[in-house]
């Protein structure tokens, strides 16, 4: 039974801080007095109007994010009362977090797993898979040995291809609801992303 504590929060309308009237959950503005409302506890998907799925169109995520920021960003409340500005800041903060999480395949995957109670970062078991560990070490070595910009670029393009493949794999893992596989693939993508970041930094130094 996982409904404990969840049911009342989602079904009950919140009380508007300004007119004290009812505001349906996740509604950013009070239907009665139009005051901006606190962001509440909606998950990142529903905040931007999506179902919980790995397959999101980044263009669409962006469009929703821009639409909402246009209404909720503190710049729209610059001449309003301190309370309204504070609420709009909290809204914009939540939108930014949702946007950053959903735009990046790795963060999106980790977040989906977290919603299902599976931690992928900092659970102390991240290096349990010997094959993955071996692959990561080989990639590190290849990068360490790259001396010229061309050599670094070749490591990067290899890692990018692998990252794209891992992203496609994640899509399949989530589609078949194989969360154990998704967790493995997410860990692999974590390594690949880290490698690409490090390679980018190294590219600046060898250039």
């Amino acid at each position: 039974m996982r409904l404990r504590g969840v049911l009342p929060r989602l079904t009950t309308p919140n009380a508007c801080w300004s007119c004290r009237g009812p505001v349906p959950a996740a509604e950013p503005f009070c239907p009665t007095c139009k005051a901006v409302q606190p962001p509440g506890q909606a998950d990142h998907f529903s905040r931007l109007g999506f179902a919980r799925t790995f397959d999101l169109d980044p263009k669409l995520v962006e469009r929703r994010y821009f639409e909402l920021q246009r209404k909720l960003h503190p710049d729209r409340f610059a001449t309003r009362s301190p309370k309204e500005r504070a609420v709009s800041q909290a809204q914009a903060t939540s939108l930014n977090e949702a946007y950053e999480t959903l735009m990046d395949p790795l963060r999106r995957a980790a977040y989906l797993l977290k919603l299902s109670g599976i931690e992928t970062i900092g659970d102390g078991k991240t290096v349990a898979d010997p094959a993955l560990l071996m692959e990561a070490m080989e990639m590190r070595e290849a990068l360490a040995e790259a001396r010229t910009p061309a050599e670094v670029d070749s490591v990067v393009s290899g890692a990018r291809r692998d990252a794209e493949a891992a992203t496609a794999q994640l899509s399949r893992d989530f589609a078949s609801e194989d969360l154990e596989a998704a967790k493995k693939t997410t860990l692999r993508l974590t390594y690949l992303d880290k490698l690409i970041d490090d390679a980018r930094a190294r590219r600046l130094n060898v250039a």
Partner: protein
Amino acid sequence: MTLLQLHEPGETPLPHEGDQALAVGIDLGTTNSVVAISAHSKPEVLRDADGNGLVPSVVAYTDAGPVVGSAAQARIVDAPETVIFSVKRLMGRGAADVKALAGTLPYKLDAAQGGMVRLLIGEKRLTPVEVSAEILRAVKAQAEQHLGREVTKAVVTVPAYFDDAARLATKDAAKLAGLEVLRLVNEPTAAALAYGLDQAAEGIYAVYDLGGGTFDISILRLEKGVFQVLATGGDASLGGDDFDHAIAEHWLADRKSELGSEPITSGEAKQTLKSARAAKEALTSRDAGDFPVMLRGKTTLHRLTRAELDRLIQPWVDKTIAICRQVVSDARLDLSEIQGVVLVGGSTRVPQVRRAVETFFGKTPLSDIDPDEVVALGAALQAEALTSGSETLLLDVLPLSLGIETMGGLVEKIVDRNTPIPVAKAQEFTTYQDGQAAMLVHVVQGERETVAECRSLARFVLAGIPPMTAGAARIRVTFQVDADGLLTVSASEKTTGIEQRVEVKPSYGLSEEEMARMLEESLEHGREDMERRLLIENRVEGQRVLLALRSALAADASMLDAGEADRIEKARQGLARAIEGDDRDRIKAAVEALEDVARPFAERRMDRAIRAGLAGHSIDEFKGDPGGCLAPDPEEEKS
């Protein structure tokens, strides 16, 4: 940096007080400052009677009081010891950050003082905040003269790469000058706004902004009125001033033999720098020239060619290009994806700089809008957008990572650079000794791994941690960065829920007492002014309550009980009358009275909505956990 404060009383914008829509944009520059205003998306620089739009950011402290601009500049020859220029470079900085020329500092500093640098001018001991406030007062006066009315609101620009201390110092300076800052906007972002709206540009653009003392490079995406910063970088102490120093050092080396071991005076340093600046400017359009240097009462002419100048400034130009490369990489872009590069800042007039930018980006840089004025124009556009509404949207990022000191002088990053703002991130920490009752938190900003290489923002002590075994306490430290890029830190102990007491020691800021004293001194009627603002704040709040009630009654008046309508109407009239008066305690009491009498009505509205909500849904719709969200609920934060 602010700690545990949502807003300071007496500082709120005043939305409904008469016609308050007038707000200007101010570029508070290292070398020059510019003020502009925008109406109907057409920004315009406000010039003085002679048509000059640039106010030199120079302040002279004369017997008759401070003088700003070209009048102050003129005094460099006769009374150099009274003149302060390039003060922007000292905002939120310490004495160690002041740049020497041939071993001589251009100012006398108060050596005893730690924290933010203090300049000694005669009997005066001045903070950079006070000096900047003089510049802002002059700029404000110029705008008022031009517009024929008082100006009290502004968007002020800051280098994108300014850290928290420098941003806060800028905001404090504006406050001292009697200006309410509607928003701090990053200079390259403001420039992009001016360009984007003027040229209807779309796509990915780089803004290369080399001013007198600061360098910024920002990469933005412009799309249908959205100005989204993808990445930013820079150097808050790299600018045209460095070119001047390089030229001056070069000349001083020529005359080393005369100088012997005796250091030059600060007046000689200022004059040599002034001559160096003139040489740099002259060589933008000429190939060579002879420039005077006065030392020990003797003036000699020094020849400088374009080629020599190029060689002297090369290291700084190279440094800017290295930063560009880093930022393009941070934005995860290839150079080919960047559609255009915009030049901003007076130092981009130097031909060598233009060449370097063109070579790196592989594109002819854009400078259709005057690089000295474009930032102020963008600020004016944003000022208009904030006061009159707009369809454009500026989405900026945090320029420098924020973190706290951990064991061994290492930095643990809490918010990464280039994260979109506003942002909130929380991290949990624990005690490492049994019964540990307090914990020191040292907040730093920067990209390096050790505290020593980052900028210290503040230290504070979390006291009153209940006695527990080591590692049992769970102290949650939350960093909140607002749309101005300013940080607020709060902390609480999770296992007991005790909100922690916080003592702040800002590393390079002004203490609250100092700021209060300066405000009182700076405003002729400091105290009355504060009182007036508090009164207006209470009126605004009262009006909000009246409006909210009117909406609620319009929606659900049928739910009122017998007699309730009369009671509410009576309380409503009481508040309306209180708002007319000048007694803010009375307004407060009237707000409370009205809220009390309207509460049962609000509760009935809620009850009905809850019953309707439960009736209309099945339980299956609500499975699953709500997501994690770090954004603080301001409702909770306030209580």
